[in-house]
């Protein structure tokens, strides 16, 4: 996305270049985020998709400077509105510039503090309003996130609200100081489908209204589809594929994206359709495999994949890190070779696909 500099005069809202986050452990450095680059423009949404342990949460929390660990090692560059923030204190960005919604609305609110106090605190700190004005603003915010009887709610405690309500309060708090960049870390994973739809619609509306940039972290490709402009698929701390949302679903190139898609039960499948799980386990991030991180679980894997690690391609806005991309001649040939041999270069058994 750095090559789309032709019509943007101002620096992009967020420019991440070769960003690395590691944690010192007894066994060595756990490379949770291993050289990630992306750009996020004002008003856009980036979906970040991957399994647990892919580094998607660490990436976002580290960008925000929320990982308070002396064992953390941060390298590379993250520019927020052109200003370098890596290894700088990011606390003065919180609230007004960047804000975050967490996964679990049950535990991210303070259970012994009234809703009103929790919303007015950032308002008073960041916008400098007095108590009365802050309460008025809090009521406005609660109205904007669709909470009925907001004037009554501000005197209630979190336990008096349902999960969906609490997540709306979280959104209200996150948006209270009008941030330009919002991180939504699995905002609906703990919620029912109906509430999930409401919250995602609400985030979309508020984002459009405020022209805010957002990263939507999710393990659910269905959630990311239709709610994002671009999607970044992460695995083992690296980007496997990066594409405009529509392109990703119509011409996915990375075997991992394909594997992730085919492991999900889809509504169009008839009942008792056999799912295709991803074999094996996620990589060890302390001593990852030398080649492609996904090679041990990949049905396309060739000797090349074990020896060297593919770079993320850079010739278009659809990028992938794979020697044998899905749907290309190389990819098809690789899969055919593996199917004929019954095993991949790594030794993973491959069964021949049945004709659909």
């Amino acid at each position: 996305m750095s090559d789309s500099a032709e019509d943007t005069v101002a620096p992009p809202l967020l420019e991440v270049t070769d960003y690395r986050v590691g944690f010192r452990t007894e066994r060595g450095l756990a490379k949770a985020v291993d050289g990630i680059s992306f750009t996020l423009e004002q008003g856009k949404t980036l979906g970040i998709v991957g399994e647990s342990g892919s580094g998607k949460s660490v990436l976002n929390r580290s960008i925000m400077g929320l990982v308070a660990s002396s064992r953390q090692v941060e390298q590379g560059s993250v520019k927020y509105k052109g200003q370098e923030i890596v290894n700088n204190d990011r606390q003065n960005f919180w609230g007004k510039d960047m804000s975050m919604i967490f996964q679990d609305p049950m535990t991210s609110l303070n259970p012994v503090m009234r809703i009103g106090k929790q919303i007015t605190e950032p308002i008073r700190k960041h916008l400098g309003l007095d108590k009365k004005a802050a309460i008025e603003r809090a009521v406005e915010l609660l109205t904007s996130v669709g909470i009925p009887e907001p004037a009554k709610r501000i005197d209630q405690y979190p336990h008096e609200l349902s999960g969906g309500m609490r997540q709306r309060v979280m959104i209200a708090i996150a948006l209270s100081a009008e941030p330009d960049f919002l991180v939504a870390d699995e905002p609906t994973t703990a919620l029912d489908v109906t509430v999930q739809k409401y919250i995602l619609d609400l985030l979309n509306d508020l984002q459009a209204e405020r022209h805010m940039a957002m990263t939507l972290i999710t393990h659910d490709l269905g959630v990311a589809r239709g709610r994002t402009d671009d999607i970044m698929v992460m695995y083992g701390g690296r980007v496997m594929e990066y594409a405009p949302t529509d392109t990703l679903f119509s011409e996915m190139r990375h075997p991992y994206t394909e594997a992730l898609m085919s492991s999900i039960p889809r509504l169009s499948y008839p009942k008792h359709t056999r799912l295709e799980p991803i074999p094996g386990t996620p990589p060890d991030i302390v001593s990852p495999p030398p080649g492609c991180r996904f090679a041990p679980r990949c049905k396309y894997a060739q000797p090349e994949c074990i020896e060297s690690s593919p770079e993320l391609s850079s010739w278009s806005n659809h990028r992938w890190a794979c020697f044998f991309p899905v749907g290309t001649d190389q990819g098809n040939a690789a899969l055919e070779r593996n199917e004929a041999a019954g095993v991949t270069a790594v030794g993973l058994p491959v069964r021949k696909r049945e004709a659909v």
Binding site: S162, V195, P265, R266, K271, H272, T273
Partner: protein, 339 residues
């Protein structure tokens, strides 16, 4: 929603498990009562998977627990192999326990982290087989641990906390299978798992179902998962059933307004209903004072006066195996003209 009625039940004797007029209530003091499950009836034929879906708080887990008599329902009967479990007491009920097993939502907290996995799985066998045929029991445990995809030797050595979430759910499956049950109640078995692991566990459940001729009561809030594993689906709302039927049929032509709203909320690329700009308005009413008439009337887009006073009864939609409890169901056109 809806309602009561038993039009959706199959002939007596045909079903392996038949639940009639199940009521579960919890007193909450001052004479108030939570009506968790009210007058719910359903049945499961041998070898069938019944999916129970609904939002949190609709009573689906309570229903499942009432089936295995933990705790006992307030009213109604749960007939399994001709015996009403709700009436059985003490030793008689205990004798039935191996026949109906359960798999819980959180695989990690449902296993004792400090016990060896082999011991966890063999606990049921050692309780039931006495001391006589210990050798047979050990063989069986070993075979089942292997069948769920775990290594037996490792299972003898390692303790539950050394296993990942997906592996723990495999252990739970093994623990449920080891007593050769007829029915397994699965309460959100894959909700806590990652998508790729979820697929593994779902496939495992299907394999085990085929191999052991199991009958499953499968509870989940994830509609795509339920659709995939179930033969028949029952949709619950606030302690009542609103729609029951063949899973493909319900997903193709949802007849109840609540089912429609529920399905339209699924974030799935193939979801045609997702295009509908409907959203479920308002909050779930309190189960302490459920709305009269159809319980869904407070949030229903099609509500009429009759819905506020009269409870709809389960009736056929005209589809082959599709029943709905609604005064104004969305019926497929062909079905309407036929009737």
């Amino acid at each position: 929603m809806a309602g009561s009625g038993k039009a959706h039940l199959r002939a007596e004797g045909e079903a392996l498990l038949r639940v009639d007029n199940l009521v579960v209530e919890f007193p909450v003091g001052k004479g108030r009562v939570v009506h968790a499950v009210t007058d719910v009836s359903f049945d499961i034929i041998e070898g069938e998977t019944l999916g129970l879906v609904g939002e949190s708080g609709c009573g689906k887990s309570t229903t499942a627990k009432a089936v295995i008599q933990l705790p006992r329902p307030t009213g109604g009967s749960v007939v399994f192999e001709g015996k009403d479990l709700a009436q059985l007491k003490g030793e008689e009920l205990r004798r039935m326990r191996p026949e109906i097993q359960m798999i819980f939502q959180d695989p990690i907290s449902s296993l004792n982290p400090r016990r060896r996995v082999f011991d966890i799985v063999s606990e049921g066998v050692s309780v039931w087989s006495g001391k006589g045929d210990a050798g047979f029991a050990t063989d069986r445990v070993a075979r089942i641990i292997e069948e769920v995809g775990l290594d037996v030797e490792t299972a003898r050595e390692k303790r539950a906390h050394e296993y990942s979430g997906g592996q723990c759910q495999r252990i739970s499956v093994a623990r449920a299978l080891v007593l050769d049950p007829k029915i397994i109640v699965c309460d959100e078995p894959v909700s806590a798992l990652d998508v790729s692991v979820q697929a593994q566990v779902l496939n495992l459940l299907e394999d085990m179902k085929d191999r052991y001729g199991l009958t499953l009561l499968f509870i989940s809030h994830d509609l795509s998962v339920v659709k995939n594993v179930s033969d028949r689906i029952a949709v619950m709302y606030l302690g009542k059933l609103c729609e029951v039927g063949d899973s493909d049929e319900i997903f193709a032509d949802p007849a109840h307004p609540y089912t429609r709203l529920l399905l339209s909320a699924i974030p799935d690329a193939d979801n045609e209903l997702n295009m509908e700009a409907q959203t479920l308005e308002g909050e779930l009413p309190s189960p302490i004072t459920p709305p009269p008439g159809c319980r869904f009337h407070t949030r229903c887009p099609k509500v009429q006066d009759v819905c506020r006073s009269e409870e709809p009864q389960m009736a056929s939609t005209g589809g082959a195996d599709h029943f709905v409890a609604c005064h104004f169901p969305d019926l497929v056109e062909s079905a309407v003209t036929v009737s």
